[in-house]
Symmetry: C2
């Protein structure tokens, strides 16, 4: 029995060595001398032996269990909308999902516990560019990763920094090797490469990490779009190589998603989607959209790409969008979204509801003492009135931003949850059309 | 029986007419014709009659029940510290109490439900000057008062606007009739008088309202302090006359507190305290302190005044102070406090703890992953780390201010609650000395 267990223990440990976090391995192997001494002297005997074996084994089996997995639960008969479930080391993600943006390790203005209990997203997003600059990967690594640092125990996704670097336009230089950019904080120079974008994301420790890509602007001439797309593809292979070569830093898997580019050219999008699909990643993303192009062009690109990206892997449309954009893209087969819109607009007093949007700063709400949203899904919707929220905005009070953010994110998450229900019931297409019409109003 | 009940009904109604809210009386009397018609025609007979009587009576008895009341529960043997209980229409206030400041109908950065469940003050404060300018008394009255407007169902206190007007220094002119001032928002001119300060506070509808006074600066020459004190006394009598002459607007009592002035002159303070005491108010306040004078001068003034103000009424020291100031003044016989310090300093990254204060922006907390305050009393204290909070301040995130505010106010409220326990147990003096020493550190 002992011989067998010892064999199992060392065999599985060796098997998973490359993928195991160094901290787990260090911990486990640090206990070895104590174990062997006790074993040799028959102290605590079987108890100690079984404890050690089970500890090591459970850790390894946990590890194997939490390799990202995607299950398709249903596809809508009237559209390409899909309901699925992603499993990660930090929990399950029901799709379609909207990921609130937690740029600098916080969803602005929202306590983690309200985020969890009121807004209730299965996953949130952090920005590599911002986290790399502050608090920096050194602090994040000392904390044991972003989850522990910010006190968020559900799944996390980090972008690669590519989009932020693209936004710096005047302060960055894109070359084949990587991107040199100037920090918006102190003007210091930094370089992002496909390789260090992976390394940094290892240190941040999100469950899903993204390829380093170039996000082209809109409009973008064909020649530039094509050249950039090919570079993004070459960068992808460098990312994949780095991802394979570098062990995880914490005791859970990280899943890598490549990104389709190609601007608004169907031919390039097709080519890119095929290239990306050929790499066989656990999930795939569509980048370079929601950068100013008309919604119809966005939908056209999503449609082309979703036809090519594998059906049995989640599809993530980056940086999109309005509630209507989200429903339209779900109908085209997208499973994951993120966008600053609901939170940023909330801080400017714009509220999304199922019946249209509200500019709460408008004088018409001044003495409307009805609740913010009678159909709302969070405590703020019924505990505060429109007149009160309008007052908070007119005096520029923090609480106004807090309330509006919880409302908007609560609305977005309820919307994707409802979309999922409709897909499961096979009623998505008709519901989507009704909602799109209904939400396309200003109240 | 009917004759008797009718008699009771109309007698008590008449008796309370002056003090009843107009809205209650209007409501009650609007049902009279219906009642008499039904009574005359014997429709529903006794049921209707008893319903009407009970409705009216209960309202009136409630009304009588909630006249402010103060009960002294214990006095500390080693100091003048008192534990008591104030009863208002919106609930009981255990004293000593610290009132978080909700300037513009919000305790900055704190949701009402967190204020209630985490910080848990029995009463909070609103500022007449700010509420008068925005949202304005018209909106507040339409909402049914500040409680309903902001969604706070516990007691409220409003200052009279005197302090804010004093702070405007360059933009106000003080005359016997009142104060003309320029709004800090749009430069428009307004006038506060003892009379309209009461009227505005009727419209705001706090449970405790304050006299309109002049808050003298520090230092202040004797002549000015004396002249100003006498004007404050004359203003007090005008406030009292207005308070008596004007009915409540909502269906609960408001209690009026006069304010002792006299700068840092013991003689003037004594004179003012005697004048204020002679007016027999339900509670009394000490103003004009915490305006820059050394703590010892503040304590000397509080001591002189507390010796004169009646023991059977609560004493409220306005605008004070640090945790140490609060304990020292409790020891001198003060029951109520308010101050922007815990909330304003929180927004600047300064945290108060039982073992001293923390500047969370300091680099030393950068990789301190221990919880904010292991002895803390709110969820933020154990759900976030010092390193995380420091990061939020370094990137100027809203959540940093939110966390620090809940921590500081939670600490203040826990401190006064503990002070109350110690007074009840007769152990306040020794505990206070220990705490003062302990808190007088920078961590």
């Amino acid at each position: 029995m002992r011989v067998l267990m010892t064999y199992v223990l060392f065999y599985t440990t060796k098997l998973k060595f490359q993928q195991c976090s160094t901290s787990f391995l260090t911990e486990t192997y640090q206990t070895l001398p104590t174990f062997f001494w006790a074993f040799k002297n028959r102290i605590c005997g079987d108890f100690l032996f079984f404890w050690f074996c089970s500890r090591a084994d459970f850790r390894i089996f946990n590890h194997i269990n939490v390799l990202m997995e995607f299950k398709l639960h249903n596809t809508d008969p009237g559209s390409k909308a899909r309901a699925g479930e992603i499993t990660t080391a930090h929990g399950k993600i029901q799709t379609p999902i909207f990921m609130p943006v937690g740029t600098a390790a916080t969803v602005k203005g929202v306590h983690q516990r309200d985020l969890k209990t009121e807004i209730n997203p299965d996953i949130i997003l952090g920005n590599t560019y911002h986290l790399y600059l502050r608090p920096g990967t050194d602090i994040l690594q000392q904390a044991g990763g972003l989850h522990k640092f910010m006190g968020w125990d559900r799944p996390l996704l980090t972008d690669s920094g590519g989009y932020q670097v693209y936004s710096l336009s005047a302060n960055r230089k894109i070359k084949e090797a990587g991107v040199k950019f100037k920090s918006h904080i102190d003007g210091s120079y930094h370089v992002f490469t496909p390789e260090n974008a992976i390394d940094i994301q290892r240190q941040i420790g999100a469950d899903i990490i993204m390829a380093f890509d170039e996000c082209t602007p809109y409009p973008c001439d064909y020649k530039y779009a094509k050249r950039s797309m090919h570079m993004t593809h070459r960068w992808l292979d460098r990312c994949i190589a780095q991802d394979k070569a570098s062990p995880f830093l914490y005791d859970y898997e990280q899943t890598f998603f490549p990104i389709v580019q190609g601007s608004t050219y169907k031919g390039l999008r097709r080519q890119s989607a095929e290239f990306i699909a050929s790499r066989g990643a656990e999930g795939n993303a569509i980048g370079g959209l929601s950068v100013g192009e008309p919604a119809d062009e966005m939908y056209a690109m999503t449609e082309v790409v979703c036809e090519i990206l594998p059906e049995d892997k989640p599809r993530y449309l980056m940086g999109v969008g309005t509630p209507i954009n989200i429903l339209e893209n779900i109908a085209l087969g997208v499973d994951m979204f993120d966008c600053v819109l609901p939170s940023r607009n909330a801080r400017n007093g714009m509220l999304y509801t199922a019946h249209g949007s509200i500019n709460i700063k408008n004088k018409k709400w001044e003495n409307d003492f009805s609740v913010i949203d009678p159909d709302g899904h969070t405590f703020v919707d019924t505990e505060y009135s429109k007149a009160y929220l309008r007052h908070l905005f007119s005096v520029n009070e923090l609480l106004g931003k807090q309330i509006a953010t919880i409302h908007n994110l609560g609305f977005y998450l309820a919307l994707v949850r409802q979309a999922r229900e409709k897909i499961m019931a096979g009623e998505f297409a008709a519901w989507k059309n009704k909602m799109v019409q209904q939400m396309n109003k200003r109240l």
